[in-house]
């Protein structure tokens, strides 16, 4: 049994961590929060140069050809530092979708650019408020063009291509849209986490090509989101661990009533519970990583398990990090709110917590009861 990363993968983690320490300090995240840019373009290019964006993309498509375990390692590190870059949209969703279901032309057109940091993608599924579900899709694909609106779309403002869920006749299809084409309108949306931009995209007869077969849209989208859920789970895990460390460090540093506040059981127990939720999430994410890297039959269950557990952990750790900091945690100047914002934004992306809870039990019921043990 080996439910752990290899030494080489751990070396990659250390390398990425060093790179991010240098190139993505809290000030860089704050610059996106407070400044006018939608993402950190220099950091993103740096990640491309490091080979991180193409880690799981085969060499024939300009990638590095490592694998998904390496991508999990990278995702955790990006999550730790709240990297304000569109990796989830472009790599976990965009590249994964193309690798899973794209045509040779589609792969050749975009995968090399994704690896090189020259193309940003977005995952355009949502149409307004409420749980994501097939019946809500109104945007249409006529075989050549798409028309309609999608919102909210993470990184929609800066993306070069979009993967769009559309109605084709009476069925749902996934489409690939070059956003430099005609009839694209973008509108930035204010959000709880400005370090990952949100936008509304409107298409009016915009040229598009189908990904996979007609009517396969929801099926492909589900498969892609399962894979992305594990990678985003690792981002959440990284964020949870860092929020726990911040709380622990503050509890060691801060004095009250003549002692370190971490010596008070009321504070110590909050931190112990944060460790518990982060540990459960790590173990569940490793299960997800195994399923992702081996394309195991358990992948759908493992994905939902990792996703629910990682969402729990990041929200739990980020909110309690503020609690441990007390009033200082609620100031703009401290970084606690950056983690709080990201934890709540990530809890909603590609399906909210209750959506994944429901998926997990639906899949366990459909599968075998064995999965419950």
């Amino acid at each position: 049994m080996n439910l752990d990363f290899s030494d080489e993968q751990k070396q990659l983690r250390d390398q990425v961590r060093r790179f991010l320490k240098e190139n993505c300090p809290p000030a860089a995240v704050r610059a996106i929060l407070e400044g006018g840019d939608a993402y950190d373009a220099k950091l993103y290019q740096g990640l491309a140069d490091l080979g991180v964006l193409g880690a799981a993309i085969p060499e024939e498509y300009g990638g590095v050809g490592l694998g998904h375990l390496e991508l999990c390692v990278v995702a955790e590190e990006l999550g730790r530092v709240l990297a304000p870059v569109p990796v989830a949209s472009t790599v976990y969703l965009g590249a994964e979708c193309l690798m899973q279901a794209g045509s040779e032309d589609q792969k050749q057109a975009w995968l090399p650019k994704i690896s090189a940091g020259q193309a940003i993608g977005c995952w355009a599924i949502n149409e307004g408020s409420g749980r994501m579900q097939p019946s809500k899709v109104a945007l249409t694909f006529d075989g050549k063009t798409v028309s309609g609106s999608k919102a909210p779309i993470t990184d929609g403002e800066i993306a070069d291509f979009a993967i769009v869920l559309a109605k084709e006749g009476g069925e749902l299809s996934l489409c690939l849209v070059d956003l430099s084409g005609n009839g694209v309108t973008r509108e930035a949306l204010d959000s709880i986490d400005p370090t990952r931009g949100q936008a509304k995209l409107t298409f009016d007869g915009t040229p598009a090509t189908r990904i996979g077969s007609a009517g396969d849209g929801w099926h492909i989208a589900t498969q892609v989101m399962d894979r992305a859920a594990i990678l985003i789970g690792f981002e959440q895990l990284g964020g949870a661990d860092r929020a726990l460390e911040m709380g622990r460090d503050y509890a060691l540093d801060r004095m009250a009533f003549g002692r370190q506040i971490g010596s008070f059981q009321a504070v110590k127990h909050i931190l112990a519970d944060m460790y518990v939720s982060a540990t459960l999430a790590r173990s569940n994410c490793y299960y997800g990583a195994w399923a992702l890297s081996s394309s195991a039959a358990e992948l759908p269950i493992a994905a939902a398990t990792a996703r629910v557990s990682a969402t729990n952990a990041f929200q739990h750790c980020a909110k309690n990090n503020i609690q441990v900091h007390g009033g200082m945690g609620f100031t703009w100047a401290f970084d606690c709110h950056l983690y709080y914002r990201r934890s709540n934004a990530l809890a909603l992306t590609i399906g909210s917590l209750s959506t994944w809870e429901s998926l997990l039990i639906e899949r366990m019921s459909a599968g075998n009861v064995e999965a419950a043990a």
């Binding site: 080996n2 518990v276 459960l280 299960y287 039990i361």
Partner: protein
């Protein structure tokens, strides 16, 4: 990443399987699998006899006390081999419950602190299950604060060198079935509490020892009170120096059985099956969105513990020491089971209040409800476990101990307000 055995592990697993296949008490398998929560559930045979018979069989073939050296009746196996054994032993492991404390805690303490003569006398029959041990540590007034114990040991005034014990222990599992007990006492009340303790072992049939079962809140009696009334112990049954009992007790407590790989039960598989079988408004309960959310939260705790265990096994398999992540096991399992039991009863509606043979799964969830408060206290309460995680894993400072340098006899014994 993979869940596969190494070739050596697979070889060992094969060996274990074939021995179990030929030797396990298969006539008890069904009954052991049905074991209700908190007992081994044997009715067709005397549970003690069945446990001893299985242990003896294992010992004769070299499968007893895998972590002990061979000269004391153990198997001298690696930690990874122990994990594989326990995975394969499956339902028959329930029969080892009688020996858990002896093999996991008392034995290692004897091994570390007793002289060679005693080790040769005590350890082999403990390994083979011929003699059962219990641990006499907790007292009514010292649970989490174990070092505050009051059971007194004083030198007999007849020049024999013997010790005379008076006092009371509590929460002693298996005292009524035990041949020997590991006993921690106070020999000096004039020094701070940790410094005046001394460890002994004694025959449980010594004159003056009285074992009284405790009727628990759930109506069962798995634990005992043990009273000592002028019990005499020879000085050569002392473990470690006089006044060094705290250090000896740490050997015992650090040897708490490695639960790695066995994974503590949360009750989730049972709840999931219950929900698969039950209907709400003509549909399976698992189709209800409220039920799904609750089940999913229990499910990720169950799987989180399972894969945390597997991460520890992975470390063992590579010859490394597992990290601190296993410290979450009982904390998560206990609280989850309690909450889960309440939810299972909630799904039964008002009928959840009924606890009899027609209750779903033979009343298993009602039994969990009534037993789970103990899981959150025994072997380190939730609060103590959180302190351990906070201090040993996260490196937070310990609480200030106001009784640390105070002579034991001056420590207040009652919190009642003075009139």
């Amino acid at each position: 990443m993979d869940f596969n055995d190494t070739p050596q592990e697979a070889e060992f697993r094969k060996e274990v399987r074939s021995w179990l296949d030929a030797n396990a008490p298969k006539h008890l398998e069904a009954e052991l699998k049905r074991a209700s929560f908190g007992s081994n559930g044997l009715e067709s045979e005397d549970p003690i006899k069945a446990s001893k018979a299985w242990q003896k069989k294992k010992a004769e073939a070299g499968w007893a006390c895998l972590h002990w050296p061979k000269e004391y009746g153990g198997g001298a196996r690696s930690a990874m081999e122990r994990v594989i054994w326990s995975q394969e032993e499956g339902p028959y492991a329930v029969l080892s419950g009688l020996f858990t404390i002896g093999h996991g805690m008392c034995g290692p303490t004897v091994m570390e602190w007793a002289n060679e003569e005693w080790k040769e006398r005590l350890l082999p029959p403990l390994a083979s299950g011929e003699e059962v041990w219990c641990q006499l540590f907790s007292e009514p007034a010292s649970g989490s604060d174990l070092a505050g114990l009051r059971t007194k040991a004083v030198k007999a005034d007849d020049g024999s060198g013997d010790w005379i014990i008076n006092g009371q222990k509590i929460w002693t599992s298996g005292a009524q079935n035990s041949d020997w007990g590991l006993l921690i006492t106070r020999t000096d009340p004039d020094v701070p509490k940790h410094k005046g303790l001394t460890m002994f072992f004694l025959r449980m049939d010594s004159p003056g020892v009285k074992v009284v079962p405790i009727k628990q809140a759930n109506g069962a009696s798995g634990f005992n009170e043990v009273y000592f009334d002028d019990v005499r112990i020879p000085d050569d049954q002392r473990l470690g120096d006089v006044g060094n009992g705290w250090k000896v007790s740490l050997t015992t407590l650090m040897n708490e059985r490695l639960s790695i790989g066995s994974g503590m039960s949360t009750g989730f598989p049972e709840l999931f099956k219950f929900c698969m079988d039950m209907e709400i408004d003509g549909e399976a309960a698992t189709a209800d969105s409220g039920v799904r959310s609750k089940l999913a939260q229990f499910a990720v705790k169950q799987s989180g513990l399972k894969y945390t265990g597997m991460r520890a096994i992975s470390a063992l398999s590579k010859g490394e020491t597992p990290g601190p992540e296993n410290s979450i096991g009982k904390l998560v399992a206990g609280a989850t089971m309690q909450e889960l039991a309440m939810y299972a009863l909630d799904l039964q509606g008002e009928a959840g209040v009924v606890w009899n043979e027609v209750s779903p799964q033979n009343g298993r969830f009602q039994a969990m409800l009534m037993r789970s408060p103990a899981t959150r206290i025994e072997g380190g309460s939730d609060e103590i476990l959180r302190n351990i995680i906070g201090e040993r894993v996260l490196g937070l400072p310990g609480d200030i101990r106001v009784d640390k340098d105070v002579p034991f006899k001056e420590i207040p014994t009652s919190g009642k307000a003075k009139a």
